[in-house]
Amino acid sequence: MSLAGRQTFAVDSLAIDDIPGNTSILLTSDDSDALEAVFYRLVAAPEDEQSVVLATESSGRSTKRSLKNAIRGADDRSTMLTCEGPDRGEGVQSVAELGDLTRLGMDFSELFAEAQQTEAPLRAGILLCSTIMGEVDDTRSVYRFLNSNFLSQLRRSKALGVCAIDMSADIGADIDSTVVGLETSFSARIDVESTGRKQATLDVSGLGDNDGTIEVSW
C-alpha cells in the first residue's frame, strides 16, 4: 500500500530549493530563538499541506502562533502534541509526562496515522528533542523513539521531518558527541548560527544543491 502521493516541499522563506519527501533534517543551534524561527519556517504547512508538531517547551496557543507567523493559515492546518500549558484549541493535545516515551511515542504515532487519512503532504517536527533527552534516564530510548515513532513515520508517509536540538541544553551527556551520532540517522543537517536580530547563517548538508551556507532573515 502507498501511504502518500507526491512530494517535494517548498521552503521559500529560507531561500532553500524544494526539499524532496522522506527527508529528515537534524536542525541544531545554540541560539534558541534562531533555532525556533528556522524550525517553524521548515515545518509550517502551506495551503494543501499539513503539519504535525511535537512541542516540548511551548503551549498549543504559542505553537499555533509561531506556525501562523511563519505562514498565514498554517496553524489551521496543523495538529500538535504540547508539553506546556492547557490542552486548548482544535488539534492540540497535551502530553502528561515528557519522560514517558512509551506514551509519547504512541500519541505521536496516532497523530501521524490520523494525518495520513487525508492525501495532504505532511511536514512533521520535534521542537525540542534536546528537552526529551534531558528528561529520560537512558538516551538509548530516545534513539528507539526517533527510529520507531518518528523516522519510520516519515519514511512511510514520504513526509518532511525536522528534529531540533538546542546545543546549549543540558542533556546529561556530551551534546557534541551525541549530535555527531544522531546525525547518522538523519538524511540532512542544518546548523543555525545567529548573526544578528532576526538574522542567521544556515550551514546546510545533505540537501543536494542547497548544501553550503545560506544567509537568512525573518
Binding site: 500519541d107 487519512q117 537512558d138
Partner: protein
C-alpha cells in the same frame, strides 16, 4: 489481524491469545515482530512487550488496538518504545501489514546508531579472515603495551560486527564479545577523533547501561581502526575502573596504536592472500 499480516509477501504470522502463551512463544520461537492487542485476558499488550524486551530488545512491537493511548497504563514501561496503530481507523488492516513489513525491513527498534556507510563497512570488515589469521598473539602484545602505556585496568582491540563487538585481544580482563547496543565503541566509531568518556555515570548514554556497569567500566577512551577506504571496522580502547581524563598527547598516542593495529591486520591479511595465490599457482 493475522490475515492483514499474511497479506504481505514473505510474512507468516503465528498467533497467541494470552500474555502467557505469547511469552512462551517468544521464548521458544524466533519472531521478527510482535503485533498485540492491548487488552488480553491475563494482562496487557505491554506485558507481552516486557517478555520480549527481556528476550530480544531489538524486536519491534506494534500495539494494534482500539484502546486510546491516553487509556493505556504506561507507568511501569516509561521508556519502552512501541508502534501504535488504532485498529478502528478505516485503513487499519492495510496499514498494519505495511507497517509490520516496514519495521522488519528497517529494524526500527534498534537502540543504537549506525554509520551511514554501514553496508559497505560490513563488507570491508568481511574481507578480513580474522578467524584464519594468526592475529591474536600480536594483538595481545599490543594491548599489553597499551595498558602499560596508559596505566589502565583494561585495554582491548575489538572489531565491530553487525550486532556485536568481537574482542580479539584484551589485557586486564577476559572479554569475548559485547552486544553492540551496549558498547561505547558504537558511539566512538562515529566520531572523527578519539572519544573520551571521563565517567560513564555522568553520561546518560551509558549511565543506565547494566552491561557496562557489570563490567566495572567507569572511564573510556576509544580510537578508530580505519581501513584504506575510510571505513571504521574496529576500535582500540582503554578502560579504567575509576574516573580519568586523557591529555591531547595521550589521545594522539591512542590513535597511533589504533593505526598500528590496523597495519598489523592489513599485513596479516595481505600475507594470507599472497600465500593463497601461491598455492593456487
Amino acid at each position: 489481524m493475522a490475515e492483514a499480516i499474511r497479506s504481505e509477501d514473505g510474512l507468516e504470522p503465528t498467533t497467541a491469545t494470552t500474555v502467557a502463551e505469547a511469552g512462551d512463544r517468544i521464548e521458544s520461537e524466533a519472531v521478527d515482530c510482535v503485533v498485540t492487542e492491548y487488552d488480553l485476558t491475563d494482562g496487557t499488550g505491554l506485558d507481552v512487550v516486557g517478555h520480549l524486551r527481556d528476550a530480544d530488545p531489538h524486536t519491534p512491537v506494534v500495539l494494534f488496538t482500539g484502546v486510546s493511548p491516553s487509556e493505556i497504563d504506561t507507568a511501569s514501561f516509561e521508556e519502552m518504545i512501541v508502534e501504535y496503530l488504532n485498529r478502528d481507523l478505516p485503513d487499519a488492516p492495510d496499514r498494519l501489514g505495511f507497517i509490520v513489513d516496514d519495521v522488519i525491513s528497517h529494524s526500527a527498534q534498534v537502540g543504537f546508531l549506525v554509520p551511514d556507510s554501514e553496508g559497505s563497512r560490513l563488507e570491508a570488515l568481511a574481507e578480513y579472515d580474522v578467524d584464519e589469521l594468526p592475529i591474536e598473539e600480536s594483538f595481545s602484545r599490543l594491548t599489553d603495551l597499551i595498558a602499560d602505556r596508559f596505566d589502565v585496568a583494561v585495554s582491548f582491540i575489538g572489531l565491530i560486527e553487525k550486532d556485536v563487538e568481537n574482542v580479539l585481544a584484551c589485557t586486564g580482563s577476559d572479554w569475548d564479545s559485547i552486544t553492540r547496543e551496549d558498547t561505547i565503541c558504537t558511539h566512538s566509531m562515529l566520531q572523527e577523533d578519539v572519544m573520551v568518556v571521563e565517567d560513564i555515570n555522568e553520561d546518560k548514554r551509558f549511565a543506565n547501561n547494566d552491561a557496562l556497569q557489570n563490567l566495572g567500566i567507569v572511564s573510556y577512551a576509544g580510537a578508530n581502526m580505519t581501513n584504506k577506504d575510510g571505513e571504521v571496522i574496529g576500535q582500540v580502547c582503554v578502560i579504567d575502573h575509576e574516573r580519568r581524563d586523557y591529555s591531547a598527547a595521550e589521545r594522539e598516542s591512542l590513535q597511533q596504536y589504533a593505526a598500528t593495529a590496523m597495519e598489523i591486520l592489513e599485513l596479516r591479511q595481505s600475507l594470507r592472500n599472497a600465500r593463497g595465490v601461491e598455492v593456487e599457482a
